[in-house]
């Protein structure tokens, strides 16, 4: 039934047709990203930006556009004198307090939302407003209602963070697999066991995600609230520098703020990967 045939080149091959058009760009890329490593390009870009800044500052020559060296000098000063520590701790302390409140409020709200379409619809508008009210409104609100001090920023942080927590918790509750619940019922697990082994891990994942995503947003609004009405913290220092026309100081505090925020965000991302690696595999 079978015959092995080795194809012989019978008739002479025809005039070679042009090879099939190479799929320019669309074909699978066989070249590895043989370009320079990431950190090198990043560094080069940052150095270029700093250089450009330095040139512009030198050209203008007025302290209103300070040179990067002046800003770096101020940054070092702020850190060394401990002012950085004092005010960043103050700011972050307020945020943590705010997040604490947000978690206390957000978890029950999120739980209700996750279990019921009615509550989802009910909370959807208020959460949207809370999440998208312009920072200015929050800042003035904090000042007007709570006066100068720490309470305003704490409450504002809480208000900004609540939507992130609530929505994520709702997601988490909805994500608890119905099949797993059935399994628990089939094996006659107690409600406490179900809570502990099913809901708590799901919730912690999503609460953490809420914290991660909400952190940057909350801190920016909190800092703004400090600009308006606080007696300590990063925002307060920026405001003071502004009032004294110390642009170098303003930029110094801003740079430190940015660096710290990026570090914290990276840290949170790393923590999320570590703590919830089991989840990442499923996701």
């Amino acid at each position: 039934m079978t015959s092995t045939v080795v194809p012989t080149p019978g008739t002479p091959p025809p005039a070679p047709a042009p090879p099939p058009a190479p799929a320019s760009g669309a074909g699978p890329r066989r070249t590895r990203s043989g370009g320079s490593p990431r950190w090198l390009v990043s560094l080069a870009a940052i150095v270029t930006a700093l250089l450009a800044w330095w040139l512009v500052a030198a050209a203008i020559g007025d302290a209103i556009v300070p040179s990067p060296l002046a800003v770096a000098d101020r940054m070092a000063d702020i850190v060394v004198t401990g002012a950085a520590l004092e005010h960043f701790v103050a700011s972050i302390g307020k945020i943590l307090a705010g997040f604490g409140i947000a978690v206390l409020v957000g978890i029950p709200v999120g739980f209700l939302m996750g279990r019921s379409a009615f509550w989802t619809a009910y909370f959807s508008l208020p959460l949207f407003v809370l999440g998208n009210v312009p920072g200015l409104t929050y800042a003035v609100f904090g000042l007007v209602v709570f006066g100068v001090g720490a309470t305003g920023p704490v409450v504002v942080s809480a208000m900004v963070a609540v939507p992130f927590i609530a929505i994520n918790v709702a997601e988490g509750v909805r994500s608890v697999d119905g099949h797993l619940l059935d399994m628990c019922r089939a094996f006659d697990r107690s409600p406490a066991a179900v809570a502990r082994h099913l809901y708590v891990p799901a919730l912690t994942t999503f609460v953490f995600a809420g914290v991660r995503y909400g952190f940057a947003m909350a801190w920016k609004v909190e800092a703004l609230t400090e600009v308006f009405g606080a007696s300590s913290g990063v925002g307060f220092m920026i405001r003071r520098a502004y009032q004294e026309f110390q642009v170098a100081d303003m930029l110094a505090w801003t740079m430190l703020f940015i660096v710290l925020m990026v570090l914290i965000e990276r840290g949170l991302a790393l923590a999320e990967k570590r703590l919830f690696s089991w989840r990442k595999d499923l996701a």
Partner: protein, 259 residues
Amino acid sequence: MASIEIRNLVKTFTDARGHETRVLDGIDLTLHGETFTSVVGPSGSGKTTLLNIVSGIETHTSGTVTMRSDARASDDAKVGYVFQDPRLLPWRTVMQNLGFVQDVRTGWQERARHYLDLVGLGHLGDRFPAQLSGGQQQRVGIARAFAVEPDVLLMDEPFSHLDAMTSRTLREHLERIWLESRRTVMFVTHDVTEAVQLSDRIVVLAPGGRVHEIIDVDLPRPRRASDPAVAVLQAEVLARFEALEAQAAEARALAAVTA
């Protein structure tokens, strides 16, 4: 119809460290019009690369690939391609997906609907891919390739990602459509029994990218998987294939030891 002539096809791949691997090592092959040819081989034999070169997705290092179509004057033979995964545009309906790959702007609908009917999905033309099962999506992929009425049909392990039952059904659909239109088909698969069931000829590639042997399959069509004659041939071919795989494993082990 159309024929594909492959002459002394070589493909070398150079990795980042400059090591050269010969994926295809001088393939000489002619696929005649109106035949269903399967290309099988153990992993590392370059069968998908061969298919990609024929379709134009990849470039080759040396040698020639000529597609000659009787119907067309130009060199550009019309190619239909079925991938392992359906590759449907998720934001277009089934019918729109079939229309996307057509050359002509009008008049393709009837043709497309005909092929959709042939795969049993004529009533789902307005659905989005997300609303279809995996098997249904793959069927749409098959209908799409046939609906352009290509000179040459290239298929890359189209059923490897589906479950056994769905694959069996789809093989029947495929044979039925093919019998209607008898296009030149090049069908890559790792499943030797599937190759026996579907093809007129089986090209066996050896690791390193050479043609090991070509087997003619002379069974009458349409073929049923339950037909004893088919089963006998499958067993024979499988035995030869296993021998080849054993050889390849030995060669690999030897290479690992002497490296």
